[in-house]
């Protein structure tokens, strides 16, 4: 009997084990839903699969009576646009400030307490202030994502930069690099994959902030729709929307992982292949 840490499932095994929890969750939902529906056939909390399929067909493949749009796609586009902008800005900030904080002692001394403090401010509580400064339109939603996600990215990247072996920085200096070159050729390339990992971790929060922002004032977007139909507890729309958001986020997660594997072959170099 080999130790369990040395035993690896094969390709098929990995698929099977990976799928198992999903199947269990689906089955659990099915049973719970059936139980509730037996009691009240109109129950809205856990609608049957058929109701969700019908709801999706309605919002995704039938033009809306009032606006003529395909609601789900219009919502998705609007949300992805905001999310992309927000994450883009947050990433840029994280790169500049995070690497700065990790690498330059003066920047670290100056910003690290402030960023730590900032990351603790619950953004939802100061929303009114955001509204005034950034208006009620797209901008404030993007800003909410940035405010919510950037401090985490910055701090994580700063921590990772500090953790880099000092030998490498010294080596680069003996090769004649100035600070800017060190950033460009030594730190940045090694931090980009870490940044992608951090981004993966913050996809969940980013969606959360987006949804919250859309819940407050919007005319379209996935979060807007969820909070709108929550008004009459249309879980048959909410659950597919939540699943769709989860899927989108998961796809971004996969994309980022693929990006890492693709663009940074050195990450896996020398690791045992199986």
């Amino acid at each position: 009997m080999r130790r369990i840490i040395n035993r690896r499932p094969g390709r098929g095994g990995a698929l099977f084990w990976g799928a198992l929890p999903f199947l269990v969750a689906c089955a659990g939902y099915g049973v719970a839903s059936a139980l509730r529906l037996a009691e009240n056939p109109n129950d809205k909390l856990l609608p049957p699969l058929s109701a969700m399929v019908a709801a999706v067909a309605r919002v995704a493949f039938t033009p809306d009576a009032r606006t003529g749009d395909y609601l789900m796609w219009a919502d998705t586009l609007a949300s992805l646009h905001r999310l992309g902008l927000g994450l883009g800005v947050a990433t840029a900030l994280a790169l500049v400030i995070g690497i700065g904080m990790g690498l330059i002692p003066y920047v670290r001394a100056g910003l690290s307490p402030f960023v730590a403090m900032l990351s603790m401010v619950p953004p939802m509580a100061v929303l009114p202030v955001l509204f005034i400064v950034f208006g009620l339109d797209e901008l404030s939603k993007v800003v909410l994502i940035v405010v919510g996600v950037a401090p985490f990215l910055v701090r994580d990247l700063a921590m990772r930069t500090v953790e880099m072996p000092r030998e490498q920085l010294i080596k680069a200096q003996t090769l004649g690099a100035n600070t800017w070159q060190i950033v460009l050729r030594v730190v940045l390339p090694q931090m980009l994959p870490r940044l992608a990992d951090a981004l993966r971790l913050s996809l969940g929060p980013a969606w959360l902030f987006l949804i919250s922002a859309e819940a407050i004032a919007a005319t379209e977007g996935l979060g807007y729709r969820i909070f709108l139909v929550r008004r009459y507890m249309a879980m048959d729309v909410i659950l597919p929307y939540v699943a769709w958001i989860t899927l989108l986020a998961f796809a971004s997660d996969l994309l980022l992982r693929w990006f890492n594997a693709r663009c940074f072959p050195w990450l896996r170099a020398g690791k045992a292949s199986p």
Partner: protein, 332 residues
């Protein structure tokens, strides 16, 4: 099924503050003890969540408006009885404009409101009264907790529909005009205490205890000069985050039915049928009766006289005056 313990949810609103007082003052306990049951009154901050919880079965009763009672629990297949018609909004909901002095000026503006709520309904009724359609404005869904800050601080918010206490805050903003309010459609936005019909049928004492407690407090509120009455009003004012004067101000725009007789006769009035017809039409047009609803008749509404609006075989919302009548007759 018969049971002894009941849970009722309420949320903060001028016309519902007595429920909080009922719990705090022990009046609810008194009446529950009288019928040998226990009633827990739970305050929920988020109004919609309280209705959802009721609909999902976490509560036996809940406060809500007539429109929400139709579109959430009733449309969700939970057979619901409007046990107490407590009041209707008589100016508690309103439309406020920054640009423009009359309702007609709203044309083409963005209107911030809680979509699919009574505010939305009020807007529809208001537009109707001046021959406009919802297409003439752009509705921006805005959460009720943020409407004040959005309106008072953001230049691109020019029109809003909301209710009290937010309404009075919004109306105070410099240069604003209230161009329409619910007193122009009296009796259409009704604040109810609804209970699960099945629970009520199996446990008549539950309904009796609630009605009894409610009208005892109503009695106190009509006597603000007595020490007890004053204490009650002050406690309610405090709980709603304002002072006595402020709370009285809110009550001015709320048409309370202080006596059970008033409540019973309102529930039995033919106007209520007309109102509910308007409400269900609005709800159906906005898809609130659920996706399975083929027409506005999908959900049946039963009125005290036995009148039914909509599908007789699918009656899910029942206006009831029986218990209020018993209270009026002093039989509780």
């Amino acid at each position: 099924a018969e049971k002894k313990n009941f849970r009722v949810a309420w949320s903060i609103y001028a016309g519902w503050m007595p429920w909080g007082y009922a719990a705090d003052s022990g009046i609810m306990k008194k009446w529950a003890d009288k019928y040998g049951i226990k009633v827990e009154i739970v305050q929920i901050n988020d109004y919609v969540e309280s209705i959802n919880q009721y609909t999902a079965g976490a509560f036996d009763g809940c406060v809500m408006t007539n429109m929400d009672a139709l579109t959430i629990p009733a449309a969700g297949g939970v057979d619901t009885t409007a046990l107490i018609s407590g009041d209707y909004s008589n100016g508690n909901d309103g439309i406020v404009l920054k640009k423009g002095k009359t309702l007609k000026d709203i044309k083409g503006q963005k209107v911030n409101l809680v979509e699919l709520s009574v505010s939305h309904y009020l807007l529809a009724r208001a537009l109707d009264s001046v021959g406009m359609k919802e297409k003439d404005v752009t509705v921006v869904n805005t959460s009720d907790a943020d409407i004040v800050s959005a309106y008072s601080s953001s230049a691109d918010v020019t029109a809003t529909v909301t209710w009290n206490p937010q309404l009075s805050e919004v109306a105070k903003t410099a240069g604003s005009t209230m161009v329409f309010d619910s007193s122009k459609v009296p009796g259409e936005i009704i604040d109810l205490m609804v209970v699960n019909t099945g629970t009520m049928r199996d446990n008549p004492s539950f309904a009796k205890a609630l009605v009894g407690a409610w009208y005892e407090i109503m009695g106190l509120m009509t006597k603000p000069d007595t020490a007890e009455g004053k204490a009650a009003l002050e406690a309610m004012a405090k709980a709603s985050g304002t002072d006595l004067a402020g709370y009285k101000q809110q009550l001015v725009t709320t048409k309370m039915f202080y006596t059970p007789a008033e409540g019973a006769s309102f529930a039995a009035s033919p106007e209520l049928v007309k109102t509910m017809d308007l409400v269900r039409t609005f709800s159906f047009d906005h898809g609130l009766l659920g996706e399975g609803a083929k027409s506005r008749d999908a959900v049946g509404i039963l009125f005290p006289g036995g009148t039914v609006l909509g599908d007789v075989k699918n009656v899910k919302l029942r206006f009831d005056d029986a218990v209020m009548k018993q209270a009026a007759d002093g039989k509780l």
